[in-house]
């Protein structure tokens, strides 16, 4: 469209709409906050004006400056992104013409997600959805056919298709409560927890290896995965689920389930080289730790309260009311932990005994650590000179390797003798600096530690979970903090510009909550305070966040389409009243029961609608944000794999335990993970996908092509692509090719049975003919590649 035409249209629009009043609160404020406030805010007013409130804009509106900057052939503003649309400019123009009135009085001038939740009131999912549809002049779709409904809800709650017999039974069930009974049966099955735990593990970026360089396996990550499955299956109240993950070891002492859930803290990647090989005291060491805590802050805030607090590491958040200081308050909460294996016990008495002994050990270690450091870091010019000589000798010895000539042998011996002598001299110099009292004190402490270790060893062997730990056995340069490390507010996020010390706390932008935590040396108390801050009934973000996540997985899109970002860069809610009503209902009526929330949503008429396209509503709402139909979804990677195994009659429903390594594994300095070396019929190959060993650096290529996300990445929402490479994987991957053969074997020559196993229906003539000509394995391969198999209506 040419500029002239656009202007004409704008004039026409202005003329016809001029009479309609424009609301600052409803029309202008959201527009400004999306496009202008990032720069023009009170903390940092660019160009001298603040776009945060109607009052602060009054002068710019009156003088014409506001309109002038956003109009013209090349509008000066907004600087970032596209110019405002003609419709948006028209809104601003009319608002100015109507006197730039402020109708936000009485409304707290806060971002939608930070407004307090309303009081409980009656309502229903369908009521809110219908109201919006009516407003738009749309009607909902009719209820889906029962065969479609059972496939939809079974994939949704179990991540698996129903069996052909289950479909028949449900389709012919005369009971009017058949669907309700089906939902209750599905929610009671352990398959439910396995499915919904997978969603949760996406959000928290769980993996079974460390990631980064070397990418070592993380053999004790899985107890967290199992604990999440169990929490879903046992319908653990959401507040307890949250509190357990952030500080279950402190808040529910001696409860093994809560302890295993603290695996959340360590779910993300970990830089082995930076932590274990880099020497203490260097900038890069501190950077490694800073970024490790950054991951904890980012994961915790985006998972539970859907805010991108980690954007405030280098500067105040550009879009949300999160000052840099608040970010470092959160860093300070995690300043006492590193990622390491922690022991825990099923028996509370043993757990208590272990806890007492570990507390005593920690006290001794804290006492002697400064002494040990005095030895480790003792230095003088002579010691430094010796260090260089020792280092040179070591390098030369390594370079010589196995000597090949007598001269080399002699040279190597000479270097070794020199190095031994240098080391002894160095020891003497250190001894002289440190003094015998220190060594005596260290020896005494180590004796105490040995005694405590003996008593720990006498306890029954504990389970281990990879979690956040303040105390663990040192490995190389990886050593525990013992007490929380000091956290400074870093100018531009740079460790070379440390500012004030940060004290533990949370985000002060959340109204009505105390965001200051006790500045205690016991790091667990800091995490416990954060757990309480998140899971308290007054934290509106927490309750909005979880109901939106659950909605997102049921309907294929959230009421807020950015489930981990409720800030200004996120999407606004499509149904704000429904979101708030659900949050309050879930918190107060369902008491945080996720199963009740699932039940509420999948029993709604909105959920039970057909997914078929309709021309008229599609013209008004192509993205189906108003839910005039159900969304059709493509199966995710795990569903494809599990449903294929199920059709093949191979799915192994064994639950829990160490993750299954579906690759050839060669342990090494840097291990090798080789997927081509794994046989699709090998032991463990038939386990459900949630039990796969997830390698961060080397994802399973088949799963990756079906958009299984990189576990180095927080994934609140999966992307769904349809690519040639994906088609090749579905068509040619050894797993698919082998499973097609198993499906055929299971159908034992009966083509219609094969059709039912894969698609829940008999064969068409063309399909039957193909099967007759090329055999059922080839036919199964075709059917497993159909859109009918890959999409859920």
């Amino acid at each position: 469209m040419s500029v002239t035409k656009a202007c004409l249209l704008l004039v026409a629009l202005s003329a016809s709409l001029a009479a309609q009043p424009v609301s600052y609160r409803k029309d202008i404020a959201p527009l400004l906050s999306q496009r202008c406030v990032a720069c023009h805010q009170a903390g940092n007013p660019s160009g001298g004006f603040i776009a945060e409130t109607a009052a602060s804009l009054a002068e710019a509106a009156r003088s014409g400056l506001l309109l002038e900057t956003v109009t013209g052939e090349r509008p000066r503003m907004p600087k970032a992104g596209k110019p405002l649309t003609a419709q948006q400019v028209s809104l601003i123009r009319r608002w100015v013409e109507q006197g730039a009135k402020d109708d936000s009085a009485g409304e707290p001038n806060t971002w939608w997600s930070l407004r307090p939740l309303p009081a409980r009131r009656p309502g229903s999912v369908d009521g809110f959805i219908r109201a919006k549809l009516n407003e738009a002049g749309l009607s909902p779709s009719a209820e889906a056919d029962r065969r479609i409904l059972i496939r939809r809800v079974t994939f949704d709650l179990h991540g698996l298709p129903p069996t052909p017999d289950e479909v028949d039974a449900f389709a012919t069930d005369p009971s009017p409560r058949a669907y309700e009974a089906l939902v209750d049966r599905l929610l009671a099955s352990p398959r439910y927890g396995e499915r919904w735990a997978r969603h949760w593990l996406d959000v928290v970026h769980y993996g079974d290896s460390h990631g980064y360089d070397k990418d070592k396996p993380r053999p004790n990550a899985w107890p967290y995965r199992d604990a999440v499955i169990r929490a879903f299956n046992e319908d653990m109240p959401y507040a307890r689920f949250v509190r357990s993950q952030v500080a279950g070891d402190v808040l529910y002492r001696d409860d093994p389930h809560a302890f295993a859930l603290t695996g959340f803290l360590a779910a993300g990647p970990w830089d082995f080289v930076g932590h274990q090989e880099l020497k203490e005291g260097t900038t890069d060491k501190n950077l490694t730790r800073l970024l490790d805590r950054d991951d904890m802050v980012a994961t915790t805030m985006s998972t539970f309260v859907s805010l991108t607090a980690h954007c405030a590491r280098c500067h105040d958040h550009k879009f949300d009311p999160i000052p840099q200081a608040d970010y470092y308050r959160l860093q300070s909460v995690f300043a006492g932990i590193d990622r390491a294996d922690r022991p825990f016990d099923a028996d509370p008495a043993i757990s208590q005994a272990r806890r007492t002994l570990l507390t005593e050990k920690l006290a001794v270690q804290r006492r002697i650590q400064p002494l040990l450091d005095r030895v480790e870091f003792a230095t003088s010019p002579d010691i430094t000179a010796l260090d260089i000589r020792i280092q040179d000798a070591s390098l030369l010895i390594a370079h010589l390797g196995a000597p090949k000539t007598p001269a080399e042998t002699q040279e190597k011996q000479r270097l070794e003798t020199r190095r031994t002598a240098d080391r002894a001299t160095r020891q003497k110099l250190v001894d002289a600096i440190v003094g015998p009292e220190t060594f005596a004190a260290i020896a005494a402490g180590q004796k105490e530690l040995a005694a405590l270790d003996a008593r720990l060893a006498a306890l029954p062997a504990p389970q281990l979970v990879y979690s956040g730990a303040a105390y663990f056995n040192r490995a190389g340069a990886f050593r525990p903090s013992l007490t929380p490390r000091p956290v400074h507010i870093l100018d531009r996020g740079s460790l070379s510009s440390p500012g004030k010390l940060a004290t533990p706390g949370a985000l002060r932008c959340v109204p009505g909550l105390d965001a200051n935590f006790p500045n205690t040396e016991e790091e667990g108390q800091r995490r416990a305070a954060l757990a309480d801050w998140i899971a308290g009934s007054d934290n509106m973000l927490t309750w909005r966040s979880i109901v939106n996540r659950v909605w997102h997985y049921h309907f294929g899109a959230g009421l807020v389409d950015t489930p981990s970002d409720f800030g200004r860069m996120g999407a606004p809610p499509s149904h704000p009243e429904l979101l708030d009503w659900l949050a309050v209902w879930f918190r107060d009526e369902a008491k945080g029961s996720l199963k009740q929330l699932h039940r509420l949503l999948v029993l709604s008429e909105t959920y039970r609608q057909r997914s078929a396209h309709r021309d008229e509503p599609a013209k008004l709402d192509a993205d189906n944000r108003l839910l005039w139909r159900m969304n059709r979804v493509r199966l995710d990677a795990e569903c494809v794999r599990d449903a294929t195994l199920l059709a093949a009659g191979k799915l192994d429903l064994t639950m829990g335990g160490p993750s299954v390594r579906q690759f050839g594994f060669k342990d090494d300095h840097s291990p090798v993970y080789d997927y081509a070396a794994f046989d699709p019929d090998a032991p463990g190959a038939y386990r459900r996908s949630i039990y796969r060993f997830l390698v961060r650096s080397a994802p399973d290529p088949f799963m990756e092509r079906l958009d299984c996300p990189d576990p180095s990445l927080l994934t609140p929402k999966r992307t769904m692509t349809l690519t040639a490479i994906q088609a090749l994987a579905m068509w040619n991957n050894r797993f698919m090719v082998r499973m097609a053969e198993h499906v055929a074997a299971r159908a034992s020559g009966d083509g219609n049975r094969l059709g039912r196993l894969v698609l829940g229906r008999g064969l068409s003539q063309a399909e039957a003919n193909y099967g007759a000509r090329h055999g059922l394995a080839n036919l199964a391969r075709v059917l497993l590649n159909t859109n009918e198999f890959l999409f859920v209506d």
């Binding site: 080289v273 260097t282 280092q391 961060r696 080397a698 992307t719 769904m720 349809l722 690519t723 159909t786």
Partner: protein, 325 residues
């Protein structure tokens, strides 16, 4: 799925073309059309290659004191060691090059040297991430993925971003280096293992399937298309279903075009010699370079060649003879 995701995918691009839309039109007209990046992980230091440091020669054997705090990975700074290779100036530009690179030295006037790169980390993993994604944290899209996302395709029959890894193993961070991060999977790299029997994963059915024949393959794809078309009749108005049908046609075209592009045996002896295929020390790397050239000639946006620092221990360096070619 958002429209952007759809258009970003191969199938989506085919669909876009079927619908008469421009395929993946860029945000603004790019000047460079295609990129070959050679990543010599664990390569020679800049001080031994192209970054002439006369002070190192001047201060040889003296204690290292650059006038600011220096932190090494595990060790302490010792004395200054100058480059063990001699340095000369070459070309009209007078570019300094060490004797390690006698051949590259002959064409310095055709090369742009950038000596201002800095890293935020001195650790292999994070620093390699930074080189590829701009961030020292994992999970961000690599440069090739961004180009694929932003610039779209020049050839519908080939992927937009291709990685040619070292035969001996993958570098620090593994395939994470060429991840598409939070961009749709359509923008992740396609790995081509040059010189192996199956260079592209899943490009063809396993030879030992025991039941797939040429006829079952051909007729099977035809039947799949037919079943999907019928399904489409009763599921109108969903472009994803059409896109997925198109993706199988794209896959078939990829199956045809990939072997052609990888067939370097047809290149002239002179070209092969230029790429060092006649010398065991350079043949593997040379093959990757030659394939990379053929790929970009056919419109692949971004080809990344990796060599060296595989995951063994001690890390093996990039391969050189006495001098590097």
């Amino acid at each position: 799925m958002r429209r952007r995701d759809l258009l970003g995918s191969f199938g989506g691009l085919a669909l876009a073309q079927m619908l008469g839309q421009e395929s993946g039109a860029p945000h603004h007209a790019p000047r460079a059309k295609r990129v070959i990046q050679i990543f010599l992980s664990g390569a020679a230091s800049q001080c031994d290659s192209f970054d002439y440091k006369p002070r190192l020669i001047e201060k040889a054997g003296q204690p290292w004191d650059p006038g600011e705090k220096v932190e090494l990975f595990q060790s302490n700074p010792g004395v200054v060691m100058p480059s063990p290779w001699a340095w000369k100036q070459y070309g009209q530009s007078g570019k300094w090059v060490s004797d390690l690179f006698p051949e590259i030295a002959q064409c310095v006037d055709d090369i742009a040297f950038v000596h201002s790169l800095q890293s935020k980390s001195n650790i292999h993993g994070p620093a390699t991430f930074m080189q590829n994604t701009g961030f020292i944290l994992p999970g961000f899209p690599s440069a090739g993925s961004w180009l694929s996302y932003a610039l779209g395709t020049l050839n519908d029959n080939l992927p937009k971003f291709i990685v040619l890894p070292d035969h001996r193993g993958v570098p620090p961070n593994g395939p994470g280096n060429w991840s598409s991060g939070f961009l749709p999977a359509a923008h992740q790299a396609t790995t081509v293992r040059v010189g192996t029997p199956h260079p592209i994963y899943d490009l063809e059915a396993p030879a030992n399937s025991g039941y797939i024949t040429g006829a079952s393959e051909r007729e099977g794809l035809a039947l799949l298309d037919q079943v999907n078309q019928q399904h489409l009749q009763t599921h109108a108005g969903d472009s994803r279903l059409e896109a997925r049908i198109a993706s199988y046609k794209m896959a078939a075209r990829l199956q045809l075009s990939a072997p052609e592009v990888l067939a370097i045996h047809g290149e002239s002896p002179a070209t092969k010699k230029l790429y060092g295929l006649d010398d065991a020390a350079t043949a593997e790397m040379g093959e990757r370079c030659l394939v990379a050239r053929r790929l970009v000639e056919r419109g692949v946006r971004f080809v990344q060649i990796w060599s060296g620092a595989d995951n063994g221990f001690p890390r093996r360096p990039w391969r050189t003879g006495q001098v590097a070619r």
